[in-house]
Structure formats: structure tokens, C-alpha cells
Amino acid sequence: MGKLGVVGEWIKDRKEHLDLFDETNVHRQGNPFYLLGPMVYYFWLITIVSGLLLMIWYEPTTAGAYNSILHIQHEIPLGWLIRGLHKYGADALIIAITLRIYRMYFLGEYKKPGELSWMIAFASLILAMISGITGYLLIWNQRAFWAAKVVLTVPIYFDELPLIGQTRFGSAIAYIFLGGPAIGQATLTRFYMIHFSISVIALILTEIFFQRTRRKRLNMSLASVLVFFLMLAAISYLLPAELGRRANPDRTPLPILSDWYFLALYQFVKYTPPLWAGLGPGLLIAFGMLVPFLDRSKGRRPSERPFFTVVGIMALVYFLVFTVLILFNIAVIERDPPIILAITVVVLALGLLWEIRYRRRQLGQLVSSPKPAENPASE
């Protein structure tokens, strides 16, 4: 068997243990943390169905988009509900994916044979966020317009990279996504297509998975299904989904925010030079995808892999702190980044020290115990 065979074997094994949403590989079905997988699937379906209904009335043109949403929200019977379900369903989806990723991270579920499950879960978060940003441009309000402009200007700075920058691929990315030299109708059309097709393609792939594996589609009780639906409906009624102000290319409002799950990233963009605003998230995504291969520790419990636990907690804390900072509009750009950098380095170093000490101690135990095979840490 050649190298390809080894890879094929690896993939086959992971596929067998693949856990997209159903969590049927887990024995702790009663634990509410294991409802997160089915929740992801359920909220995703709600978002898709309500999105299809919105397409009946939505008009993807720069002149008509905002009006058509006003129309949906205020005039179409139950329009507010469909829009609310779409918006809050998507928010719930992102919350559920995030919590699930954190669960997988802290419980070491990404370890063999869960690597593929983890990578798919992580990629789905990225895709959900891309759907989110392409989706809120469709409203064509101020927030949407400036977010799209800012996001699509970031790749232009990739042209500053040594060597590969020469190809001007950054500008090419911006140009292709904008559909022209600046934000306009073509941008709206392309974003609409991306927003729609991410879910369509993913849905087809999941359906293939369910067909092949005969797993349960929605591993959730009817009661939960109803409760979650009523929750979303209630929020849509009490807190109608926002519209914001119509896009105005000649005025950037102050302050301007983005959807809640981008706020931390937004604060990060304020703190770093523009090239890093693009590279930073890229590295973060790469790290997330590769975690199962970077973490070579044996144990699954958080205390058995100190360094990665520290990294996970740090990511969570930064997400929360940055979000709070931006909500209170605090960003002293001369003062904050060095402090943050220093904290990061110190915390990472401490994490590393803890890891080394832990490993030393493990080693000591191994040496002192006569039969290392009985050590619970070995697989």
C-alpha cells in the first residue's frame, strides 16, 4: 500500500466516526451539551426555510433592496415573523456552532477519530459567518454598505506581501467579489449568490451524508423542537429584526458596528496595521483547522493538555473583552495593543511552562511505576 492508501485508510476511518449533527457517537445523550449538534441542524433548517420565503419578496437591486425589506417587515402578513426567524435563527445557529466548537475543544473531542468532525464543525462556523456578512449586505443599509466596503478593502493590502504580493492577487480578490471597481449592483448580486449557495451546497452534502450513513437527521425531541421555535418566534415579536438606515455612500455614521459575532474581529482591525487585519484572522482559521494535528497530547481532559486549554480560554476571554470594548467604543490605539501583546505572550509562556511541568511529572510517574502499560494516560 502506497502513501495514497494510507491517506485513504485514514479518511475512511474518520468518515465512519464522522459526527455532523446527530451526536449519536456520544453516550451522554442526556447532557444538554449534546443537544448542541441537533440544535445546529435545526436552526440551520429554520434559516434556510425562512430564507426561501424571504426570497419571494426580496428584491436584489441597490435601489429596491431596502424598500423591499421595509415592505416585508411592515406590510406583508407575517413578514416580521419570517424575517425574525431568518435573522434570529441565523444568530442562534452561530451561537450553537460556537458553543459546540468550544465543547469539542475543551473535551478533546477533536482527537482521534474526531479530527474530521472537528474540521467540518470549524469550517461550518467560518461558512456561517461568511453567510452572515454576505447576508447583511443584502439589506443595503449603512452598516451593510460600510462593512462590505471595509471587508473587501482588506484583501487589497495582501498586495504588500513580499513575493506573492507582486501578482496583485489581493486586488484581484477584491475585484472579483465586488464585481467591478466599487461597491454596486454587481456586488449585491454576487453577495446574494454566495449567501444562497453556501447553504444549498452544504445542504446537498449533508443530505448525501444522511443517505449514506442512515443516521438520524434531527436527533431531538419534539418538545425541544417546539420550544426552540417558539423562542425564536417570541424574540421576533418582542424585538423585531433591525433595519438600520438606508445605505449612503457619502456618509459613514459614527459609531458604526457590525453583527455581534464580528465585533471582536472589528476591534482587532482597529488595533492592527491593515495587512494584519487580513492575515490575523487567516492564521486563526488555519490554527483552528489544524488543532487536531498540533495537539499531540494523549489525554482528553482539559487538565491533561494544559497548553491547549490555556489557548482556548484565552481565545474566549479575548472574544468577550474585545466585544465589550467595542460596544463601549473604547480603543486607544497607542495604549492598548502593546498591553494586549504583552498579556498574550505572558499567558502563552505560562501555558507552555505548565505544559512542560505537567509532562515532566507524567514522565516521572511513568519511570517510577513498574508497569507503564497500566498508566491511564496511555491510550
Partner: protein, 213 residues
């Protein structure tokens, strides 16, 4: 050691090269399908005729800008040859013209003007960071309260410019680099307009090329 690359695997790999090439060749038209039908703004025009044209616009009259720190917003329309039905595509560049209390060296190297001094400056309000539209803020205290808490040093406690998006702060009256970045992620000062004073009018004729429209 089965893992070593033997002749057969090597030949197989070699065969992959033309196969890969064929796939790439088949896919390349698909990539072209993604290409927008409007060309990007020609930042380095091939011929003189392809250069973007701006129609001169009166930004303000001198009498409107008598007081130091007085300012006025205006919009400059630039026309790019974009082979649209009208022949040209308009890009609007919002700007601000400011009367400063002292003379500064205008950063007009891009227009071939060196060491020209003036107490009037005109900036493009397109933020050189990521393209939002920044504001002229007459009261520096408003910068501190509204733009993230930046406190300017004592010698810069006057009108400043601030961007709502990522809080870049610019000093329009910096004697060496008008528009100097005081704070924030902006990589350079904002671009400037070329202007001339004609019969009491401040006439904007051109804008520094580059950046995001």
C-alpha cells in the same frame, strides 16, 4: 520500508503533471467567467486619454473660510473611462477644505509641486485605511469622547479629523505632513486635492490618484 518512492510511484506522479495541466486548462475559462465586466479603475493609465478626468468644482469661497479652522465639505466628481454606454463612469470623492491658522507645506509631490506653502488645505475624505468617509471634527474633545478615547498632546488640541470605522485620527495642521496620522491603523495620511484660488473661489482641479473609490 515500503514508503520509499519507487520507480512506479515516481512515474505515476510524473503522469499526474499533464493530467493536472489538462484540468487547469479546462477550468481556466470558468475562472474567466467570474471576471467582472467593468474594468477596475485604471490607476496607471496607458494613454493620456485614459486618465481619469475631474471636472473642476468650487469647493468654497475665500470669504466662507476666513476664520481659522473654518471648513467646508464638498464633493469632487471624477470620471473614469469605463466603457459603459455613457463612455464614462463617475466616482465621487467627498472632500473637505480647511483654513488653517498657519501655513503648511502642501503634500503635492504627486502633482509635481514641491514646497508650496498655504494655509488652505483640501483633503479627500476617503480614509486611506479601509475606505470609510472620515469627518472633520472642529472640537478635539469630541474626538476624545466619540472616537475611542484618544487624547491629543497639548500642542495638537485643535480641530482634528477622525474616521468612524476604525478610529484613525489625522491632524490637518501638521506643519510637515498635513494630515499626519496621530492614532489608529491608517497606513498614511489622507490624499489631497489640487486647488487654485481664482477670484475669491477655491477651485478644486484634481485629486491624488490611488486608493479606493
Amino acid at each position: 520500508m515500503e514508503e520509499r518512492v519507487n520507480r512506479r510511484t515516481f512515474l505515476k506522479l510524473l503522469m499526474g503533471v499533464p493530467a493536472f495541466g489538462a484540468i487547469a486548462a479546462a477550468l481556466s475559462p470558468l475562472l474567466r467567467y467570474l471576471k467582472p465586466n467593468l474594468p477596475p479603475y485604471q490607476l496607471n493609465p496607458l494613454t493620456v486619454g485614459d486618465k481619469p478626468h475631474g471636472s473642476p468644482v468650487v469647493a468654497a469661497t475665500l470669504s466662507e473660510l476666513r476664520e481659522p479652522w473654518s471648513y467646508k465639505y464638498f464633493t469632487f466628481v471624477q470620471q473614469y473611462p469605463q466603457y459603459t454606454p455613457e463612455g464614462f463612469k463617475n466616482a465621487t470623492v467627498p472632500g473637505v477644505v480647511i483654513r488653517l491658522p498657519r501655513k503648511v507645506v502642501l503634500p503635492w509631490e504627486w502633482a509635481g509641486e514641491k514646497r508650496k506653502e498655504s494655509d488652505i488645505v483640501a483633503f479627500s475624505r476617503i480614509c486611506p485605511h479601509l475606505g470609510c468617509i472620515f469627518n472633520y471634527v472642529p472640537e478635539w474633545k469630541e474626538i476624545t469622547s466619540g472616537y475611542g478615547g484618544y487624547v491629543p498632546p497639548p500642542d495638537r488640541r485643535h480641530a482634528l479629523m477622525g474616521c468612524p470605522c476604525h478610529l484613525s485620527i489625522y491632524d490637518p495642521a501638521d506643519p510637515d505632513v498635513p494630515g499626519r496620522v496621530l492614532s489608529g491603523p491608517a497606513p498614511r495620511p489622507p490624499r489631497t486635492f489640487l486647488f487654485a484660488v481664482k477670484e475669491g473661489d477655491i477651485v478644486i482641479t484634481d485629486v491624488e490618484p490611488g486608493g479606493i473609490a
